[in-house]
Symmetry: C3
Subunit: 368 residues, 3 copies
């Protein structure tokens, strides 16, 4: 009844090119700080159960079959054929791909080919700065090359993204740092760093965020709890609030990613600030059978023109499938339920479904 | 099955006296920091959909009709007749009205006449202080007039309310500021302010809160995220916790308003502190088809004798209607569901519905 | 369809040995900062309604009978017989009992006899330190006796628990305090304290937490809002995050208790840190008819092997019953619903139900 014809996945990563065993596959099912606790497995998670529900039938097996059987079939088909079958069954017609992760992951063009879909690059600001640092000899050349790189990326990338920005509170100060402050920070960072070191300096992260804002390209901010589960700037009033107010009216859209479990809070921000948008998808793949609850909560306060779908998938094409299927099913259930009880008109529900599935993303990212 | 006969709206505002076009009407559907983002409309929100569901039939149109058609019918009837029809269909029999907002809004008596209901005034502390400042020549006369104004307001108003109090963390210190501190803050504020300036000084806000507490009238505190979406004192342990403990046993009730998305947290505070109550209504008009979920969450931890209904409506009589209808429907669904599954007895459910709809407010505010 | 045969209650207290009147019984239904507000009763809470639903039939009365009638029947049977009937109908086969509360509560062995079940002791670190302080003459003997007491408790207790630890932010610093720091804090605390004083010194609490971690016994941390409803360290990134990272890989499991209303956040931490587990039960007795919602939220992000049941009951055997019944019912409804809609396989649902009900606790606490 409510089933959008196509999906724009506004935030995902490529898939691993290597064959996976049970253990290496399992390790991709969650972002954890180590191996599963003794006596537990990451297959016993909502993501694991969702993969076992949706993916075996796409490879010719029965739903919920045991992980070992699924992995055997996966190896039988080969990683490339498995990826093609899964991605093409996801219903995603456009992927926006954050290519700034380490590991042997498919890039934008390769993902597009495997999925028989469009794909566009999202540039990760921290990684771009690290690459520029690796190839710049002096502070002056680093800063000049950085400005040029962001400018150049804005010409071909569909968006910027920053993960560390919100995890370093001071990076969110409501104005760009001064030139002297930036030079000083760059000098200290370049002197201390070794190739491969991650950028965590708050002054340079702040400089990066404001450089990206100046480019006019949409900027995706990761607002959810960090890798250690700590609460980030998203919930610190003095930080995110000030940054959102300071960037209003500059013509650059901000997209809040990964807000769970503070997604209602992120949705509210999208309702308050005209230039702020909210992701509704990435947490669905994590919450599995609970996805409809989470989606309904995002739909409480975010204006419907401000909500975007993503799979948030990384490493496994199974995660693209699961993100897309859970989203479609949750959308149909939540919106269909509201239609059934008379709260929404069916035409409105279909229109809103199309907006969240692809329309809003097409407008915000300038896709045709 | 569960339908309370009357509602006391414990927190709302008046309605606009001017005729509204599509754009001016839309602007009242949400509190945003600017015009809707390009390509979006505030009609595409839960509030917009709820207005289109409940209000057109009250003006002789079909539910969910297009906004333009609804606005045309509204102008045809005129703003006064529209207001009467809508307010009288809301089921609200008593309005408690915060009159401290700017704009051409109906006052207490006018809202009562339009709605054929009772109405009582809630005095907004910040506005009262600003008015006193506008007419006081010296620090001494300002402080004396302020004390007299709060005292006078306590004699005729049904409650006090403070919006800025919780958004200025230091205002929540667990004891009143000393006389010298207050005089110094008043002198600085009066010297710097121009007519119309808002009160944001934390010492004066703290002085106001404690003066209001001393009056014995219930004090409504706005605990939700502020206009920019930033998290307020409600979630800062060192602040709100200390204030609630410090005001226990003084004989003055505190009512927490606008807690969403931290309404579970506000509900919990109402369960812990005997003098603390929690609003269950204002967020329902904002969350529309999701209202039953939010109401059920407030009902998790708040004692049923501590929960109060409000519409939180402002500017449009449509918002009073929507607040009341969504509340009634959510109440019937949530409590009715618990009765159906045997968790609650029907008699209890009806009794609790009456308490939340009007009984608790009548007791707390001393309505007959 | 989904009904685990036995429950391990991983966190509860004993029950009162004295006969209770209406008022003394009511006072046990919630943790409040004073008597109920005028015109309200703690029977009008989710816990009160849940007690009236589940307990009267176990004493031969109809469900939802008036409190006075229930209390009369309770006195007729006597407190001992009432306790036996209720506890034996709870379905709990093993109790883990925090014995560190004041009041005339049954101990571990007595609870086991009354409930015809197993019972094991959980040692509360703060109380242990206070007892050692009461009987130690010097700083040196206090610290030596404390070390010996923790070591001794680890030999017979099934776990340690700390309530104050997380409510004193600095206690969560990511490394143990140095010996000089501990001696200084102990000297100051011992000099100032009078017998019966509670331990609140952050350095000593930190010393206690790290001493407990070194023992290898699971350590239960109370992460929910404190007695005054203030938000604790659980949501402060600099504190809990650092402690969890610092204790990873040491071989000691941490169990997060009482996370509501931040239970999704606690569940997420259990998903990130291999040595962190999350309680799913204690808040169910508080949220009553809303228990299925809360349980489903815990199940969103916590791996199923990391979730443990508890009643959190204290003082009244009614609370053990209610905790257990609400858990079973919520589990059957949530998991059964997911099976019915095809999201989960029935075998998986039964397996996960058994893990949460008893299997995970048996593994973590080393029960047979």
């Amino acid at each position: 009844m409510i089933d959008p014809p196509s999906l724009v996945d506004q935030y995902c990563h490529g898939v691993l090119r290597t064959e996976l065993g049970l253990g290496t596959f399992e390790a991709q099912l969650a972002r954890t700080g180590g191996p599963p606790a003794p006596g537990t497995t990451l297959f016993d998670t909502q993501t694991g159960f969702a993969v076992r529900r949706w993916c075996p039938p796409l490879l010719g097996l029965e739903p919920h079959c045991p992980p070992a059987r699924y992995l055997a079939r996966r190896r039988e088909l080969g990683v490339a054929e498995t990826g093609r079958r899964l991605l093409r069954a996801s219903g995603i017609t456009t992927y926006l791909v954050d290519t700034g992760l380490p590991g042997d992951l498919t890039g934008t063009a390769e993902l597009a080919r495997a999925g028989a879909a469009e794909a566009h690059e999202i540039v990760r600001l921290e990684q771009l700065a690290e690459q520029v640092a690796d190839t710049s000899g002096t502070v002056e050349s680093f800063l000049a090359n950085l400005a040029e790189s962001v400018h150049g990326a804005a010409a071909h990338a569909v968006a910027f993204t920053s993960v560390a920005g919100l995890r370093q509170g001071p990076a969110l100060a409501p104005q760009p740092p001064g030139p002297g402050e930036v030079r000083g920070a760059a000098a200290r960072w370049l002197a201390a760093r070794r190739a491969g070191d991650e950028l965590r300096d708050p002054v340079l992260l702040r400089h990066l965020l404001w450089t990206a804002v100046a480019s006019g390209r949409p900027l995706q901010l990761h607002v959810g709890p960090g890798a250690s589960g700590t609460r980030p700037g998203a919930t610190d009033p003095a930080l995110l609030g000030g940054f959102l107010r300071a960037t209003a009216g500059l013509g650059t859209d901000l997209v809040l990613l990964h807000g769970y479990p503070d997604h209602r809070y992120a949705a509210r921000l999208a309702g308050i600030h005209p230039h702020v948008y909210v992701d509704s998808g990435a947490s669905l793949a994590r919450t599995g059978a609970g996805a409809a609850t989470v989606l309904a909560e995002v739909l409480e306060l975010a204006p419907f023109g401000k909500i975007l779908f993503s799979s948030g998938a990384r490493g496994l094409p199974e995660l693209h499938v699961v993100g897309a299927r859970l989203f479609r099913e949750a959308l149909a259930r939540v919106l269909g339920g509201w239609v059934a009880e008379g709260a929404w008109a069916l035409d409105d529900a279909r229109r809103v479904a199309g907006m969240i599935a692809s329309g809003n993303a097409s407008r915000v990212y300038g896709l045709e």
